[in-house]
Amino acid sequence: MHIDARELPTDSIIEGDICIVGAGAAGISIALDWIGSSQKVILLEGGGFEYDDKVQDLYAGKTTGQHYFPLRSARLHYFGGTTGHWAGFCSTFDEVDFEKRDWIPHSGWPIKRADLDPFYKRAHKNVELGPYEYDWKYWQKKDPQLQSILKDESVVWNKVWQFSNTRFGTKYRDAIVNAKNVHLYTYANLVDITANENVSAIKQVTVKNYTGKQHTVKAKHFILACCSVQNARILLSSNKQAPKGLGNDHDNVGRYFMEHLEIKSAELWLSRPDPLKLYTWDFGKTMRCELGITKEQQAKNKILNGTASLTPLTMAKKVKPIMDIWNSDNPKKNLDKLMEEFGDAGKEVKNAKADDKIFRSYELFTRIEQAPNPDSRITLDTEKDALGMPRANLHWVLTPLEKHSIRKIYELIGQQIGKTGVGRVKLMEYLWDENDTAWPSFTGGGWHHMGTTRMSDDPANGVVDANCKVHGIANLHVAGASCYATAAAPNPTLTVIALSLRLSDHLKKLV
């Protein structure tokens, strides 16, 4: 069922069993999981079914610290969320990502990778991926042209990515709208949360829209599924009963903001051309590998988990740094610029033969977790948005560990490539001096916001527990990457969905 909250009489009371705030990958996945149940599910979406610039403006905010994309255009604010333009890169987190690693402060989750395994398999269906297979040799059996560049995988290994084209907004609109027990309210922006007297449970939330109308939503359980920046912003600004914000007794809400550092880092030079089909990406391709570092080598070298992707150097050199492309407040303009850049750059490669010299050199591009850092954080700004909510302020902070890790990753890859005799690796100049901790201007992120309501068994160290429930508040849960204790290397969406489905299963036991 779909209700446009702009059309309701103001001060309407909306009641249900489960209230999901946010209809992106996390919120929609949970709602789909409840279709046909006896519970009434309220799904609140701030925007409508299409992009609306006035709604998008609610995401605007300031950024300080490490240079970042404009917050206004870093996520999409309508039904389907950022899957409305995502690239669909999916891979699973590794076992090591969940472990406490002595060389990474604040690392360690209260759950293990094995706890997510069954949910990853289910998440695959939501994003319409191929088989739940992350061993590259499985794919090689289907296509013998997929050859590894490595002699063995004891130091560097082939980590599989799969690619989704699923736009949640279009794919799941009918399923949600036609579900009898799911009540989707569009143009229903959460602006406040009201708890009970001792702030141990949530009573209701307030939603607003541009018409000036305001409504109240009551439910037995509430799930915040609004992305890392907005989840933190909502908890921090709901401060009329808890002065520091809800769930923030230990000053953890908004802290530990993490991004994936995405940055060109090195070049791979081969003695003879090789299209390296296992590693390169193109539209329509269903999988590829990136070069990862084994758990043992991460421990031995005390580094973060990261991977290197390969793009023919000729193509990569034609593409401007992502920070220079994605610099408008308008996400649509940014996307157009991005597609234009990649489209032109890819033409030459697409038409090249396998022995073309274009396949002698590759750019090695890093995607790496950042160390959880309490100083990297979301706070509230003094400026308010059009609905009266304080805007978010992002202060993104990196540490020397990230740079040390990137350098070491390419040393290890360079050694392994050297051993094969097929070529050599050359680091970019900003990585030459191991004592240099400065970041170049083209340092970018992946638009992956994580960690602002991090998971920990200990309320002093995190905002949610292992079941994504906010510590100290009986019926408030958080879905999404804001629950991540560490960021791992892969793009976050597949894990967001897996974690959300796990939360959904947990809630089914409670109601």
Binding site: W269, E411, Q415, G418, R424, V425, L427, L431, W432
Partner: protein, 131 residues
């Protein structure tokens, strides 16, 4: 010098030094040229780059930046040594094994960005002194 031309010249150089081995005893020139040739690196980069790597290594390790010291380092390892009398195949295998051992054991350096083995770095240094 362009990479293609450089590869051609290094190939000719490698072939040429197989005869001088036998005839140039006492003359380090041809032998050093062979010893100073990082084969894998030469396949992917050019003389100018190898020269620059060699000089950079030399500036970091001044104590061994002379022909004699580099020769000593390059022609000896734990299991044996090579000399100007070593047959070419054995000579090549000796250097290749040293390079692979370096890469296996993480005995590598980042010089001018290139991740190379210590043996190759010394070869480049010798290259910069002998060319």
């Amino acid at each position: 010098m362009k990479r293609g031309k450089f590869i051609a010249l290094t190939a000719i150089g490698a072939a040429a030094v197989s005869i001088p081995y036998l005839n140039c005893k006492g003359s380090a020139n041809a032998y050093d040229k062979k010893l100073a040739l990082p084969q894998s690196l030469a396949k992917i980069t050019d003389e100018k780059e190898i020269m620059a790597i060699g000089k950079a290594y030399g500036s970091m390790h001044k104590e061994e930046y002379n022909i004699k010291a580099l020769e000593e380092q390059l022609q000896t390892n734990k299991t044996g040594n090579i000399s100007s009398n070593t047959p070419e195949k054995e000579f090549d295998m000796f250097l290749e094994k040293n390079i692979n051992n370096d890469l296996d054991q993480g005995n590598t350096l980042v010089i001018n960005g290139w991740v190379i083995s210590l043996t190759e770095a010394r070869q480049c240094a010798l290259f910069s002194l002998t060319r």
